[in-house]
Amino acid sequence: MTDLALGIRSGWMQRSAVSPLPSPPTSSGISVRIDGVGKSFGQNPVLRGIDLEIRTGEFVAVVGHSGCGKTTLLRLLAGLDSASEGSITLDGQDFNASSPATRIMFQDARLLPWRRVLDNVAIGRHGPGWRDEAYAALARVGLEDKAEVWPSTLSGGQRQRVALARALISHPRFLLLDEPLGALDALTRLEMQALIEEVWQVERFTALLVTHDVAEAVGLADRVVVLEQGRIGAIWDVPLPRPRHRAAAERGEIEATILSRLLKRP
C-alpha cells in the first residue's frame, strides 16, 4: 500500500538516483516447518514436542509467560542453538547453521558503538554498492539524516530503527523479532509496529515475532501462537484486514481471549 511513501523521504532521493531497496519478488518469504522439536538445557526441558508450520510470507507471533521457551524457539530457528530433538526445515531443506536469508532483531539493538550508524547498517556487506544500499535501508526507516552519527547519540527507538535497517539491507527471507520493542515507550512502540508492518507488507518476508504484549501480537500477526511451559498451548488465526485499528472490536475480542488463556495458567 504505502510502498512508495516508505522509501521516498525527500533528502536522500535527490542525492542519489538509486531506488530504495530494489523491489523484491512478490513473495520472497521462506516457509518453515518445525517437526516435534524439543530443547533441553542439561536436565531442564525448555521446549517439548513443538509442531508448527509457517507459510511463505506469513507473520506469526509467539506469546507466553517469561520462561515459557519462546526466545529459545526463536534461537533454534535462527540457528543460534540446535534442537535436542525433532527437525526444522526451511523451504523444505534441512536446517544448516544460520543462513544468510535469516535475520534477527534483538530486544537490545546490538549496534556496534564504535561504528557510525551507516557502517552499522552495512555490517557484513561488501562490494561497491554498500554505501547506497545502506543509505537506502536507512531511508526506509526514516533515519537517513543520522547516517554519520555515533549510535550512543540515538534514542532507543532510533536504535531499533537502525537495527531494522541493518536487517533489511540484505533482503531477509525470514525475519525473527525477539521482543524488539519491549524496551521502548508506548508511543515509539506504536510507531515501530506500524513501520514493521509496512516493511513486511512491501518485502513479503516470513516473520516470527516473540513478544509479551498480546496487543502487539494481535496487531501484527496473521497467527498468534501461545506457548505454555514449552509446549504450544493454542493457536489463533487473526483474520483482520490491515492496517488494523487499535479500537476494532474483533481485535479486542481476540486479545481478550488470548489474555484470559494466558492468565488462567500462571
Binding site: R103, R115, W150, S152
Partner: protein, 258 residues
C-alpha cells in the same frame, strides 16, 4: 577572558611556589646544597643543552623506555589477545602469568645484573617486564568482557573470524587496553629511573647520579624535573590516544559533532 581565566588559574599555585622557592634560595634561607634556586636549575639546563649532553642523555633514556615498552607491550598485547580469544591458550598460560605477576619486577634487578651485566639489555628487560603485565592483564580483560550479544550479532551477520576480531573484539577491548597502556607508561618511567640510577653509563639517571658525586644539586634537580616532564608527556600521549581512538565513547567525546 573567562576562558583565559580557567586555563590560567590552575597554574597560579605552581608559579607561586616557584617564586617562593627562588626567593628562599637567593636570600640564603634554603641552602644551595639542599635545593638550588630555580634559576640555577634553568642555567644548568641551558649549559647542558648547549653542550648537547642533555639531549644525548634524554635520547638514550627515551630510546630505552620506548624500546622496552614496545617489546614488553607487544608481547603483553599478543598474549592478552591470544588468551582472551582462546580458552585452550588461557587455560595453559594464564595461571602461570598470574603467578609471575606477583613478583615485583624491580626485585629482579640483582638477578638481571647477573644475567645481562649493566648493559642495555638489562634496562630493556626490566622495562619490558614492567610494561608487560598491565598491558597483558588489561588486553585479556578487555577481550573477555566484550559484549557477547555483539559477537553473536556479528556472527549472524556473516562476519568471519578476522572481521569479527577487527570489527568487534578489538574495538570492544580497546578502552580497557588503553587503560592498561596509560598505567604501563607510568611503570615504564619508574622502572627506567630505578634501572638507570643503579647502573648506567648514559641516560638521565646516569647524568643525575654522576652529578650527585660532584654535589651538583642543580643538575640532580634538573634530572628530576626532566623525568617528571617525560612522564607527563607519556601520560598526555595516552590521553590523546584515548580521545582519538574512543571518539565513539560518550565519556571520551571531546567536541565531537553529533
Amino acid at each position: 577572558m573567562n576562558r583565559l581565566n580557567t586555563t590560567l588559574i590552575p597554574w597560579l599555585l605552581p608559579l607561586l611556589l616557584i617564586v617562593l622557592w627562588q626567593i628562599g634560595a637567593s636570600s640564603g634561607l634554603i641552602s644551595e646544597r639542599i635545593l638550588p634556586a630555580p634559576s640555577e636549575v634553568a642555567l644548568a639546563f641551558w649549559t647542558l643543552s648547549r653542550s648537547g649532553e642533555l639531549w644525548r642523555d634524554i635520547g638514550v633514556s627515551f630510546g630505552r623506555a620506548v624500546g622496552g615498552a614496545l617489546i614488553g607491550g607487544g608481547i603483553g598485547f599478543a598474549l592478552g589477545i591470544l588468551n582472551g580469544t582462546s580458552d585452550a591458550a588461557s587455560r595453559l598460560l594464564d595461571s602461570t602469568l598470574q603467578m609471575l605477576r606477583t613478583i615485583p619486577h624491580l626485585a629482579m634487578i640483582p638477578l638481571v645484573i647477573l644475567w645481562f651485566g649493566i648493559g642495555e639489555e638489562a634496562k630493556l628487560f626490566l622495562v619490558a617486564v614492567g610494561v608487560f603485565f598491565p598491558i597483558y592483564l588489561n588486553t585479556y580483560h578487555g577481550v573477555r568482557t566484550v559484549d557477547a550479544g555483539l559477537i553473536e550479532m556479528a556472527k549472524i551477520y556473516g562476519l568471519g573470524r578476522w572481521a569479527l576480531f577487527r570489527e568487534v573484539v578489538l574495538p570492544g577491548a580497546l578502552p580497557s587496553i588503553l587503560v592498561g597502556l596509560r598505567y604501563a607508561l607510568g611503570i615504564m618511567w619508574i622502572t627506567l629511573i630505578v634501572a638507570e640510577t643503579i647502573s648506567a653509563s648514559s641516560g638521565i639517571g646516569y647524568m643525575t647520579m654522576n652529578a650527585r658525586e660532584f654535589l651538583q644539586t642543580d643538575i640532580v634537580v634538573l634530572g628530576i624535573v626532566i623525568y617528571a616532564l617525560l612522564g607527563k608527556a607519556a601520560d598526555w600521549t595516552a590521553v590523546l590516544l584515548e580521545r582519538r581512538c574512543l571518539a565513539w565513547h560518550p565519556a571520551f567525546r571531546a567536541g565531537e559533532s553529533r
